[in-house]
Symmetry: C2
Subunit: 269 residues, 2 copies
């Protein structure tokens, strides 16, 4: 998916919501556990009920790898289901990969060809040649970790490196690797002021913003600091939507939570 | 596996060789492609012929994920094969994972419980709570990226952060998270002088050293700068061993290359 198509979808749906498919078998409704692939069945119902309110889905690979090959099957089926039934929706594989060039090239094939995701989250620590192999795929995106939403973001990402902090240096260096048509950045909702600074630095790039909801970030504040003229934001919510209920009404309740966020988004757009 | 068991194995085999199982279907012998699981068949033969010379195997997950669920099956079978037939050998899942705490906990289960690897490589950028969930497993190890072997290591890992460079800060901070009985560090063979500095900083920790062979690092130099009184090194070679030949003699040739390195290691121990 290219940038223009993503922006069109945001405008049509009046939403910049990304739903995180962090599907944990210990948290899904009991009645699904009797099925052959409970993780996929859960995702399917969540997707069907929330697709009207969301522009992106973001399965985090950790929740699938925990079941090894069987989990990867659920992940493949989930991506395929979205591609088949909701072809306009942007799919982010939240995998935080990154390795030496030769190896990253295999991750790129894994996520962009085999899995057919539109975007992959990538860790910056190993530098340019660890990221470049992901940039050679048409209409596929790298979403580079810059300032993450977790407490541990304090450990290294705020270190002063010369005139700026490490996460700012990562942003500045990475913008020399790819433009805003190929690369986005992860900026956590738990750092609203830094988000404002980063938006000033990078007026044109999209930011994937996790941390709204369960982690304490607030949508209004994120919108205030992060929006640009084309929107420029994908705000993710995982647990707050997909685990709104663990009863038979889980998908309806997820839809309600997604719609609440979508309405707030429509208001600020 | 605990530290004492690893050291015993090194002493018995007079080797600190780690063989990287970066198995690429485009590089393996033609005759294996007719088999049901060529990647596993290749690994099995490589393992049987090199196990006498190696103390560790290191499958890199990128080479398996490129085949999605089928690749994960090859990976599971490979780890199980080593555990069953060579239970003393240390298995490193080279996955370079790391995510917020809740998510890292799932990666930890994926690699330490489901896959049953002894160690996992982890990326440091997201800080303490992204690494901690991997530290709560008995006799399982975190191998944290510090100074990687690739060219891109220049981009961020050498940045000055106050009195030291970023990779030194990562090392210093991470040693407050775990001792040398639970944590190792990746230090690339392509940076021998820095390896010497790091050894002075951290006399007791094991280092996983990639980059010997195809990437240009040299074993003698690595040993000179990196050995400690308990050895303290696992030196990895992947392509130089497993692709020594792509004919029917591939496993024998791999064994010859592994033995060459083992003999050099015996001489420096």
């Amino acid at each position: 998916m290219n940038k223009q198509q993503l922006i069109q979808q945001i405008q049509q749906k009046k939403s910049f919501l990304c739903v995180g498919l962090d599907t944990d078998i210990n948290k899904i409704p009991q009645h699904l556990l009797e099925m052959d692939d409970p993780v996929f069945e859960f995702n399917k119902e969540i997707i069907d009920k929330t697709a009207a309110f969301a522009v992106a889905y973001k399965p985090n690979t950790a929740f699938y790898e925990v079941y090894a090959a069987k989990g990867w099957q659920s992940l493949e089926k989930t991506v395929q289901y979205i591609k088949t039934n909701y072809p306009d929706i942007f799919i982010i594989a939240d995998a935080k990969r990154g390795d030496i060039g030769n190896t990253s090239a295999n991750y790129a094939k894994a996520f962009f060809n085999t899995l057919n995701a539109d975007a992959l989250t990538v860790a910056p620590y190993m530098g340019k040649d660890s990221v470049e192999p992901f940039l050679g795929f048409e209409d596929k995106w790298v979403i580079l970790l810059a300032l993450t939403s977790n407490k541990g973001s304090q450990d290294f990402q705020y270190l002063n490196v010369g005139e700026r902090m490490l996460h700012q240096q990562v942003l500045q260096t990475a913008t020399t690797w790819a433009g805003s048509d190929k690369m986005m950045f992860v900026v956590g909702a738990t750092h609203p002021e830094e988000l404002g600074e980063i938006r000033k630095m990078l007026p044109d790039y999209f930011f994937l913003v996790p941390g709204v909801g369960a982690q304490g970030g607030d949508l209004q504040t994120v919108a205030k600091y992060g929006l640009n003229k084309e929107c420029g934001l994908l705000v993710n919510s995982s647990r707050g939507i997909i685990y709104a209920s663990n009863g038979p009404d889980f998908a309806e309740r997820a839809a309600e939570e997604a719609q609440k966020l979508q309405r707030q988004m429509a208001a600020v757009l």
